[in-house]
Symmetry: C2
Subunit: 390 residues, 2 copies
């Protein structure tokens, strides 16, 4: 079976962009192309997968072809993948399978979103539709409201309070502060985050990620051509994905994400590793409570002890344990829906190659994980990455 | 390399449905499940790919997970694929690659669209966004207008008139008349079609496909498990796809589709066959002129002679030549955007297994082709199918 290496990765800054969709994609793609160590031509790309949710508020169709038509990949097959906020996590998975299938040698996986051209109402709409529509959105539940329900229930079931979430927010803002691609580069104090503007009780502004514009792009290659492009690839050691019911009331428990657990378990099995071997994890912290769940669901800490893990800031970089969201995560780096999944991969590619800003570099990292969630857990993709091929 | 067989296929009737999106998907999936000859459980599905463009006018997100959450495939990875009207042609390609990759043994490819809940303005919008937006749609060009421009130019360059298109309309309405899944089951006379209500000169109502609701679902399996499910599979002998510029003015010629030519050529090479060996072709006749282009671009007739081919009704079933659109095509069977690609595969699965209504059965067909186009040719997927594995 073919192994899949990452030979290049790039992104735009996340934030409020003046660039068009096409301009953002061009910037991310160009950054990815330029990151390839040896000679690379976009015409060498065999196939592309681009994740996007709202696509400029749905003002455009045939969107993948539109983005790539002037990217030097003329004629090549391309499609959009949509799985709510897990769109580009699945784009990455499908790109990985395209290479494994033997049908393609060089494949692009990427993602894009433009949220800040939309009115606040339309932004809320595009976030809300990723959850359940019939039982939740149309009944008035907002997306922060969904995660607020989950947080409240978690505090009820386990030894945890909102203070634990505040620690997550403080950590991610600290991690993102030096990230030149991050949307919100502000360090926040515990008190400020604890007493932030209330969005959906118990979640304050500092528990919620921003809505960002941005694009990200990753170039994958089959093992037998990797050497043409770089002597320093990052290998994808596992790709796994899962789904779950959209509406919270259909799930036996709302203090864990079954899709994360399933995808995580499959990924560890595929790579032949255990959670304690992971050095870096980019997890889907659309809300701080989502990061807490991820630390448990991915096996970094026992169920029910995620609050303690957060309280002790055990996800902090160079703390000796797994570094959670060295990029700043969705909270600080930002969350351009469809771009987020492969944006996590961009961070991991650079971290594992020791190419991030000095202050942010996680030392001696060998094994990394990305965790990309759609909606409140209806879809999830988990990938494992390493410096060694096997 | 793993070969991929189709073990089941089903669809809803195309038309104006009272069913919800979820209900339509359930019906198509159930029909596909029930079509499997031996015991089949939806829990055996490893992965799903579902094509959709407008998804109910974009009122829903996380759409693939939403459709499948009550289909007996709980927990399994699923994603939406969007490539305008070629969405499920690409879903089929990605499902095929998933099996070829060795990561999945049983995979669903399907598609769905609900157009008739939308106002006429919104319908027009969702068709228009599949073409170019900046230079065409926002300048006032409608989707029929785009193809009208292409038709006019074709008549200018070659020996052809609107009468040739009328022959295509008459043929497809004849083919679709006995198709119980078809949207418009009406035979039309040459005179009626020729003098139809003008939509975009020279295209009349009888040159334009209807906007339909509908869903389609195809079940693929790896060669080593096919026998568990059926002794009578249809094999996918080739899958190929390509892209092109969205806007007509960017293309060197607007009387041919480069994406079709590229994808067709690759597909024939992969299967080791030539165009003259194809017995059945389900081609993307969103407008009659699009079928004319397809007959040339896919090599059924020389460039410039598509008008003659149509005039002589050489695509008619059991005429001794390739049967073009035995289902009735988009013109008569209908066009529920995202469902169309895998809907073509449903027809081919049944034709090659001698399972369609008696009057519609194409005799002694061995090799079939499906051709699914996005927009006015920005994306295209071509598949070849046969009774024999090699």
């Amino acid at each position: 079976m073919v192994d899949v290496g990452i030979i290049g990765a790039g992104q735009t800054k996340y934030g409020n962009h003046l660039l068009s969709m096409k301009g953002m994609w061009a910037e991310a793609a160009r950054n990815a192309f330029n990151s390839v160590d040896k000679d690379f031509q976009p015409s060498q790309v065999d196939e592309s997968y681009i994740g996007s949710v709202a696509f400029g508020g749905s003002q455009l169709g045939n969107t993948a072809a539109l983005l790539t038509e002037h990217s030097g990949m003329k004629g090549k097959p391309v499609r959009r993948v949509e799985n709510a906020c897990a769109s580009s996590g699945f784009a990455l998975r499908d790109a990985w399978m395209a290479i494994k299938s033997g049908q393609a040698e060089v494949v692009i996986a990427g993602g894009i979103e433009k949220m800040n051209d939309l009115t606040p109402e339309r932004k809320r709409f595009w976030l809300g539709v990723s959850g359940d529509t019939e039982w939740e959105r149309l009944a008035g539940l907002t997306f922060p409201g969904t995660y607020a329900l989950m947080a409240r229930r978690y505090f009820h079931e386990f030894d945890s309070t909102h203070d634990d979430l505040v620690h997550i927010s403080v950590k991610n803002h600290l991690h993102g502060f030096d990230n030149e691609h991050a949307h919100i580069r502000k360090q926040v104090t515990f008190d400020k985050a604890k007493n932030g503007f209330m969005v959906a009780d118990p979640l304050t502004l500092y528990d919620c990620c921003p809505t960002s514009d941005g694009a990200s792009c990753v170039i994958l290659a089959a093992d037998h051509v990797v050497k043409q492009f770089t002597d320093d690839p990052v290998w994808i050691k596992a790709s796994a994905a899962a789904s779950d019911y959209l509406a919270l009331h259909d799930r036996p428990s709302i203090t864990q994400l079954l899709a994360t657990q399933l995808a995580g378990k499959k990924a560890y099995e595929m790579a032949g590793v255990t959670a304690d071997k992971v050095d870096i994890a980019e997890v889907h912290d659309c809300f701080t409570i989502a990061e807490l769940f991820a630390t448990e669901d991915l096996g970094f800490v026992e169920r029910g002890l995620g609050g303690l893990f957060a309280r002790e800031s055990r996800g902090m970089k160079n703390s000796g344990e797994v570094c959670i969201n060295p990029s700043g995560g969705l909270k600080s780096k930002g969350h351009p829906l469809g771009a987020t999944g492969t944006g996590q991969t961009v961070e991991i590619f650079k971290q594992l190659r020791n190419e991030v800003e000095k202050n942010r570099q996680v030392r001696d990292a060998e094994l990394a994980l990305s965790h990309n969630v759609g909606g409140s857990g209806a879809t999830c993709a988990v990938h494992l990455y390493g410096r060694s091929r096997q």
